[in-house]
């Protein structure tokens, strides 16, 4: 499945390294060592994988119903908005571990509500969800900027666009001394939940049926409208959790650039996983390797950051391109199909 893509990716990156004057074996060795043979490497991998699992799962869930949630980025942001509002206003007022739980719930609500907008517009009016969810990303980003530069600006940080740091009860615990935080476990749990829902419940069956054959679903009495809104809301909620995981697990405050495009990368993660929740684990891991190895390249070889984007772009194109060979059987009669072919 992914293995064919992986092989081709290695091949292309081989050429890439040669083209920029890096000895490929040495590069692989360093990347491999840094990522897999040091404990820091594994930590970085797992930490990077966490938000990708969430967003990939979110997009995959919607895609099971043939709905395209391009708004995971905005839902991520709205999730961080909702949870930060709680963290800033309620700390010290709630018993025990309630604060973090409330933040968790609010992140889901924030992302979920934001996700339900394109869902509702699609269900009720038939407005294309790709467009609405995409546009809402810009709105969410502007909203967060407004808060960071305005009412939520930390007075102590000298007018920089960041909130104050959250109190310890608003922070997710880490595993021992590592940088891996509880968000990873939550991500795995949600993967399991969604997988279970999709294949072991009536609801999941309805979702998949609607995705495969909307007409059949309608005849079977499925209320597609309600389902659409529900699925989008759930998808948004999960994307919101990606935000929760990053902010409460790593940064402990809201600032710019918390998401480096996780919402959009989630689309690629879902695609590579064929929209299957369990597959998301692997493709998120794969994407995480790409991100982390890019950082290694920057540090080890002093590659300018743009080189790193190029590297990622080539790899992604390769992975996407090889997909077809695993998914479909080509009958290569004529590569450029003409009318009359069948």
């Amino acid at each position: 499945m992914l293995s064919a893509a992986l092989l081709l990716v290695l091949l292309i990156s081989w050429f890439f390294f040669l083209a920029v004057g890096i000895e490929p074996f040495a590069a692989y060795k360093i990347i491999g060592e840094e990522i897999f043979l040091t404990k820091y490497g594994w930590q970085d991998l797992l930490v990077k994988m966490t938000p990708l699992m969430f967003t990939g799962l979110a997009v995959a869930l919607a895609a099971q119903m043939r709905q395209w949630n391009i708004g995971a980025e905005g839902q991520f942001h709205m999730g961080t908005f909702a949870m930060t509002w709680v963290a800033l206003n309620f700390d010290g007022q709630l018993p025990g571990g309630m604060l973090i739980v409330l933040m968790f719930i609010m992140a889901m609500i924030g992302g979920g509500l934001w996700g339900s907008v394109p869902g509702y517009l699609k269900a009720r009016f038939g407005v294309n969800e790709i467009i609405t969810s995409l546009l809402l990303n810009y709105v969410a980003a502007a909203w967060i900027d407004h808060l960071l530069f305005g009412p939520w600006r930390d007075p102590v940080s000298n007018n920089f666009p960041i909130t104050r740091e959250f109190s310890p009860e608003a922070q997710l615990p880490n595993f021992g001394n590592t940088s891996i935080h509880a968000g990873l476990i939550i991500a795995f749990i949600f993967v399991a939940i969604i997988a279970w829902v999709l294949w072991k419940t009536q609801l999941g069956f309805k979702i998949r049926l609607t995705g495969d054959n909307p007409d059949a679903a309608r005849y079977a009495g499925v209320n597609i409208r309600i389902l659409t809104i529900l699925v989008f809301a759930a998808s948004g909620a999960i994307a919101g959790l990606a935000g929760f995981s990053e902010v409460a697990g790593i940064h402990y405050r809201l600032q710019q650039d918390i998401s480096i495009g996780y919402g959009y990368t989630g689309i690629i993660v879902a695609w590579l996983a064929r929209n299957h929740p369990l597959g998301v684990i692997f493709s998120a891991f794969f994407m995480s390797i790409i991100f982390v190895s890019a950082e290694v390249l920057q540090i080890e070889y002093g590659l300018p950051i743009s080189m790193v984007y190029l590297y990622q772009g080539i790899i992604l194109f390769t992975a996407l391109g090889t997909d077809i060979f695993t998914e479909y059987r080509l009958r290569i009669k004529r590569f450029w199909p003409k009318a009359g072919d069948n």
Binding site: G126, G313, G321, W336
Partner: protein, 309 residues
């Protein structure tokens, strides 16, 4: 009043790269191909334009080279999503990475170099019209070219057979296919032409806006263009209005400070997008009643002969 006119002039200037990119997006999406990689293509266009300008000091070569380069790069997107049938969305995102990286890589050595920016050429007679004159007719040659492109795109899409076929590809590719038209061929064409326009939009940055090279010279405008295509309802003429409207928002962002208005610039940023969603919804509702499609029906969908998707 003078200040007001200055703002409008800035709106046109800021809106011009958006206009080119949006026109490119319109043509490509009319054929059914979404291209989310516009930011990457814009950067490629910007880089190539800068390099060629630096070496030849010839604006025409620079723009032509930019168009050529971005057209070529968009072929990759076409191969991956049209031939290899990958998701157009995912492929477009990969294109963003690719284009950004390519431009940054080759531009690395160029920091500190400057080129001579395009000069303003007032159109004789027209530029003296009060208000509209300086706002529309006292600009550089690329702005005027953008006006021509709007007209050309409109003529192409609505008044030629080629345009009709392109639009059909976006509405009902199966029908076209059974009529003997090459879906892949037309889509590739639209994608490449669209990509070239996006590249010209990118070229506007080093040639007119910031005549020195910096990484990320386009400042995310490619993404705005993605939304603009929708705002323009896939129509070249509406693209003109939309581009200048967004350009106005960009121009106001800073100038509001000068006026002493304490409005959060971020609300200003949100407004165009919220507006787009509202308008899109309203038009969809109205068109549903009339049974007309608002957007190209086959947009973003992979085309397989004989399969329902």
């Amino acid at each position: 009043m003078e200040f007001f006119i200055q703002i409008l002039i800035a709106a046109v200037v800021m809106g011009t790269p958006l206009l080119f990119a949006t026109l490119g997006g319109v043509i490509s999406e009319r054929a059914g191909v979404i291209n989310l990689g516009m930011e990457g293509l814009m950067l490629v266009g910007a880089l190539v334009a800068f390099v060629v300008m630096l070496n030849t000091e010839n604006y025409f070569y620079a723009v032509a080279a930019a168009a050529l380069a971005s057209g070529l790069v968009s072929i990759i997107h076409g191969v991956v999503c049209l031939m290899l049938r990958a998701s157009q969305i995912a492929s477009g995102l990969a294109l963003t990475f690719f284009g950004t990286g390519l431009s940054g890589l080759f531009g690395d050595k160029l920091t500190g170099e400057t080129v001579e920016p395009l000069s303003r050429i007032p159109i004789p007679g027209l530029h003296a019209i009060p208000v509209l004159g300086p706002v529309l007719f006292n600009h550089d040659v690329l702005v005027y070219f953008s006006y021509i492109c709007v007209g050309l795109s409109w003529w192409l899409l609505y008044k030629t057979r080629l345009g009709l076929n392109i639009r059909s590809m976006g509405e009902a590719p199966e029908v076209c296919d059974s009529l003997g038209l090459s879906v892949m061929g037309y889509r590739f064409f639209a994608l490449i032409v669209g990509g070239m326009l996006v590249g010209i939009g990118g070229a506007y940055f080093p040639l007119a806006l910031t005549p020195f090279w910096v990484d990320g010279i386009t400042g995310g405008r490619g993404w705005i263009a993605v939304a603009l295509v929708i705002f323009a309802f896939w129509d070249p003429v509406k693209a003109l209005g939309g581009a200048y409207l967004f350009g106005l928002a960009l121009a106001l962002e800073l100038r509001l400070q000068v006026l002493g208005i304490e409005m959060s610039p971020y609300f200003l940023k949100m407004l165009p997008f919220v507006l787009t969603i509202l308008v899109l919804t309203l038009v969809t509702i109205r068109n549903n009643r009339r049974g007309i499609q608002v957007m190209p029906a086959a947009l973003g969908k992979v085309f397989f002969r004989g399969e329902k998707h």
